[in-house]
């Protein structure tokens, strides 16, 4: 593999890892606050549709982004009401949200645009354009480092940089602020937080809302950054890979970045190479595709490093009377 191919491969790794990273951070906030979220997929899908549809109609990608975040927040609100207010089963609520998004996006898409669930192809200002970082063109002549800067680090859409910046931001928010401490405490021992006079319900709703915004960004990036429009079921399991990455990362922000980059790399390799011929054995593309899931099962089983979820995860909090 020559240097140029490697750069292309890593470049698409970054692109493919971005929606995973945003969704993974969304799951991180929600689950750290003790609310399981298997509805990441559905929220992303709804956001992808809403952003592409709005961008197609208005011609503005920023309005699209707002609509995407709005759609995702609406589903997050359903999840919050079901699992926090009415103390329903968080997993079942997540399943319902996934189906709701999967059905509604095609139903509305077909009704509005009549393209079999697709939105019209987005062009110009209706898409996020690539950002050329300063001096990228000037430095592209420099061997190795210049190429890395111009072709790998520069030239992504703004949401890629936002996603990367959100990693230290999340780490800071979770580990260095009062809100972060309370959020993590709510996920471990809600009764203690309640005793301290802090609203468990409030913190959990805040966490679920943050997850909604982040899933909105992820979906908007999918439809208006990575692709040029919405296609039915376009998330194609990315929400579940993000969930896998979250476990792989043991519910920590910096680990989430590396897990998402790893899963993004696997996806990039699967797209570019199909079956990999190693001479003696051929690795089928299906194995590369299934590897994130297999790795997650292995990690969860604790054969290689144990992943321990937040202790109060999945349990609705009932205040003592």
């Amino acid at each position: 593999m020559d240097f140029a191919t490697l750069i292309t491969l890593l470049d698409s790794t970054v692109r493919l890892a971005t929606p995973l990273l945003l969704a993974c951070l969304a799951g991180l906030f929600s689950e750290r606050a003790g609310v399981f979220d298997i509805g990441l997929e559905g929220k992303m899908l709804a956001a992808a549709f809403a952003s592409a549809a709005t961008a197609a109609v208005t011609g503005s990608v920023w309005l699209g982004l707002c609509a995407g975040i709005g759609a995702s927040l609406a589903l997050a609100a359903v999840h919050g009401v079901a699992s926090i207010t009415f103390r329903g089963n968080q997993l079942i609520s997540g399943v319902a949200i996934n189906f709701l998004a999967s059905g509604l996006t095609v139903l509305l898409g077909q009704n509005w645009f009549g393209l079999g669930g697709r939105t019209p192809t987005l062009e110009g200002a209706a898409r996020f354009s690539e950002v050329r970082l300063p001096f990228a063109d000037a430095l592209s002549g420099v061997p190795v480092l210049g190429t890395v800067y111009a072709d790998l680090i520069s030239g992504h859409t703004i949401l890629v940089y936002v996603a990367l910046a959100l990693v230290p931001a999340s780490a800071w928010l979770l580990y260095r602020t009062r809100f972060g401490l309370r959020l993590r405490a709510v996920g471990e021992n809600p009764a203690a937080v309640d005793t301290a006079g802090v609203s468990v319900v409030g913190i959990r709703f805040a966490a679920v809302a943050i997850a909604g915004v982040l899933c909105g960004l992820a979906g908007a990036y999918l439809a208006t950054g990575l692709a040029a429009g919405f296609g039915r079921e376009m998330t194609a399991g990315k929400g579940f890979i993000a969930l896998a990455a979250l476990i792989f990362a043991k519910w920590r922000p910096w680990y989430a970045l590396s897990a998402c980059l790893l899963f993004g790399l696997l996806e990039a390799v699967a797209i570019r190479y199909q079956n990999i011929d190693l001479g003696l054995i051929v690795i089928p593309v299906q194995l590369t595709q299934a590897l994130p899931y297999i790795l997650t099962v292995v990690i969860l089983a604790g054969f290689v490093g144990k992943a321990i979820p937040p202790r109060a995860g999945g349990e609705p909090y009932v205040k003592e009377r």
Partner: protein, 363 residues
């Protein structure tokens, strides 16, 4: 004192949830500029107005009985088996291997072998997550989700690289030999003199599914294992104190659950397609969750809820054919049913409970 009579608990609450789901769906239909009453008429006539419609309704219902029972059995042990999709995929593989590579003299023998193979393959696919949960503490919901994707990748690999006949571009196996074809419902009813539309996919698997409903009922409420399973589901601590082995119950519950999900394949793979296709499960594994919630995890409830969802599926296909409402409306209804009977159950239940408490005070 019970807050409300039993009939309200098992009938009224699910029905109210269903009504809310339908009402919201009607609003969705109105919002896209269609007529909900007309839509309902199309669905009812299309799915229930002819024996042809019934044939498809019952065909879908057969799938949902198997997957609904699968989810129910796991629910009773307070396990959430979200992996019906993967287990049914593996079940299909079992059916295909048995039908393709063994020359069967008669369909009844082929059916018996296919039942065994599909149940075994599905059971194994469920047993691994169960064992991992019981022994290694990995959450069964996450592992079964992951196993769905792994099953899809595995089947994709096998169909593309191993089982696909030479010269064929389709990722599917060859057609099964004629001798393995199952008798259609129309032939069976025809034999006893009831006319029924030919060329519907409903077949003898419907009977097997109904027998499974009875067997699961017997298992849950009339055997020692069923008692242990329910006790474990009510309180793990109490069950362990009573000498019930948690690892054994977790694995057995999931093995039964996975076996039932896997058996769905005799209906789709052997009964309908006569070959193994890439996506023969078509989401039935997930619909099992809605069916189990709607049927309150009771085999009779599952049976009725499966027919309801069979009706919705066939009705949805008719809608897409005769109106401009896409089939995906059914996915929305399904989501709303899961939401209101599952996650928002408390919201529906509490006003009903309060109503009954008020009535009792009034007396």
């Amino acid at each position: 004192m019970e807050k409300m009579p039993r009939w309200a608990d098992v009938l009224l609450v699910p029905l109210i949830s269903l009504l809310i789901a339908f009402a919201i769906s009607a609003l969705v239909i109105l919002a896209i500029g269609e007529d909900p009453v007309n839509a309902m008429t199309v669905m009812v006539t299309g799915a229930l107005g002819s024996t042809y419609g019934w044939g498809y309704t019952l065909y879908y219902a057969t799938n949902f009985m198997f997957t609904g029972l699968a989810v129910s059995v796991a629910f009773h042990a307070s396990l959430f088996n979200i992996g019906g999709e993967g287990q049914a995929t593996l079940g299909g593989l079992g059916v295909a291997l048995v039908c393709l590579f063994i020359p069967w003299p008669h369909w009844s023998l082929a059916l018996a072998a296919a039942i065994l193979a599909s149940a075994m393959f599905g059971a194994i696919w469920a047993a691994i997550p169960a064992w991992l949960q019981a022994k290694r503490g990995s959450h069964i919901v996450i592992t079964t989700i992951m196993f769905n994707f792994i099953a899809a990748a595995l089947l994709n690999y096998l169909l593309v690289n191993v089982l696909r006949p030479k010269g064929s571009m389709d990722p599917a196996t060859a057609r099964f030999p004629e001798a393995t074809n199952l008798p259609a419902l129309s032939e069976m009813l025809g034999a006893v003199g009831i006319p029924f539309a030919k060329s519907t996919p409903a077949n003898i698997s419907l009977l097997i599914a109904m027998i499974c409903c009875v067997l699961v009922w017997g298992l849950l409420w009339h055997t020692r294992l069923g008692y242990q399973l329910r006790a474990f589901g009510k309180s793990e601590k109490a069950a362990v104190y009573a000498g019930i082995n948690p690892v054994r119950i977790t694995v057995l519950a999931m093995v039964i659950s996975g076996g039932l999900a896997g058996m769905m394949a005799i209906n789709t793979v052997q009964g309908e397609a006569n070959r193994l296709l890439l996506n023969s499960v078509e989401g039935a594994g997930f619909i099992g969750i809605a069916v189990a919630l709607m049927g309150r995890s009771h085999p009779l409830g599952v049976f009725l809820a499966a027919i309801l969802f069979g009706f919705l599926y066939q009705g949805g296909a008719e809608l897409a054919l005769w109106t401009s409402i896409p089939r995906e409306l059914i996915t929305v209804i399904q989501a709303l049913v899961i939401l209101f009977t599952g996650a928002l159950e408390y919201m529906v239940r509490r006003p009903v409970e309060n109503l009954f408490l008020m009535l009792r005070k009034g007396r």
